[in-house]
Subunit: 271 residues, 2 copies
Amino acid sequence: MEKIKRTVFFVSDGTALTVAALGNSLLSQFENVEFTEKRIPFLNNERSAYDAVEKINQQAQKDGVRPLVFTTIIDQHLAEIVHTANAYCLPYFETFLAPLEKELGVSSLHLAGRSHGMDNDTYKRRIDGINYTLAHDDGISYKDLDKADVILIAVSRCGKTPTSLYLAMQFGLKVANFPLVEQDLQQERLSSKLLEHRAKLFGLTISPERLSHIREERRAGGVYSHIDTCRREIFAAEDLMDKSGIAYINSSKKSIEEIAAKIIQIKKIKI
Amino acid sequence: MEKIKRTVFFVSDGTALTVAALGNSLLSQFENVEFTEKRIPFLNNERSAYDAVEKINQQAQKDGVRPLVFTTIIDQHLAEIVHTANAYCLPYFETFLAPLEKELGVSSLHLAGRSHGMDNDTYKRRIDGINYTLAHDDGISYKDLDKADVILIAVSRCGKTPTSLYLAMQFGLKVANFPLVEQDLQQERLSSKLLEHRAKLFGLTISPERLSHIREERRAGGVYSHIDTCRREIFAAEDLMDKSGIAYINSSKKSIEEIAAKIIQIKKIKI
């Protein structure tokens, strides 16, 4: 069956990141449609609104079918301009803002660009989280582990670094991560420096097949990526975590966002 | 004027990250309401749906007013269970999925947890981006700059590292960043190793007052954070970038997301 094709615009007075994430969660439900995505961020004056309309109309003409347009535009006047385009609009703010005002019994500000507002405390927290996490990546340092919000452990290439950085970036958490190395696995116990902070420890695991695949892409054809090595390391790591009473999750089929959200949920971390 | 108080739940069959970002963009429009946020991620079976209802109802009783509940739940049966809670629901999927099916002329999958689906290519791109960016943070290496998607330059503490990591994490971009040091500023030109890649260069600047504040938090009371030092460095850096024809933006009042989105827009980077 041939796929239907459709162009999608994500139009926002801010970064357009949220509306794109949102739109994608809807579009992912349509398997037989091939979507081409375009973003129009920072739409915050009449000129950029008319430019957007022109761009959308040109696309409609080129495609022979009207594009989908997901919007998050607070300014009603600008939103109305965008809605004159030859497109099927899915306007988030217009749909929910008025009912929300009614429910809350107060009117809203209708001010654009507030969703990622620069708030000094949040900014500082994120920067501190990132700095801590970079300074405690991949076993670099055992210093200040009492300040960590969570300490990740896993064998090499399970996704410790991206998960740690995501937690720092997104939630301002301080994350340390340590590789489970041959010595840990052979001794069947973690170093006492980590066990001191048992409540903060959390493990990642992965299917041996996927680990082998990831390692192969990095360093092909060696013992390091061999399926037997991966199998042995993963079994030993899971065994060690089971014995030490350390919770872990399998990262094989999860995105970084999902792993991060699971860790927060399981460790009941305040964010 | 005393603030109205209201509890908000973000309920999702996925990470609840998108629905929270979305909900927050709406809630930020209400200045006179103090929202307390709670997340319920990974709601993907009847039991977790009924648990959510109970949690919401308990909160309603405690608050004496029904909570707001933003949802992104694809499974209609589970969504209906959640909607039985004593709450004001803002259901994203239910609102937009049916009209979208009609517009596209096809029915959707109604499958949960697809929005962050683990796609091997995307995962690999992100990991490669993160690894490259970590290996090229803060002037560590001039190697492989031809592989960079963008090269950020700025004086110390303008937000190079978080911006670089965000671009890598979110979009799988390879980002190198270099501090503008005393030598660059005095010579009024960049090193030739960077100028070779002029098309990839992009600058960050900041207000001297904000820079001084940020530096003060890191290392208090020295020349480094003194307003005169900051003023001199910023003026020299902007002058250098102007003369070299390098575009830059002021990061003072912008979130990391906004800086990243601006860079992508200005440099017309394919994402």
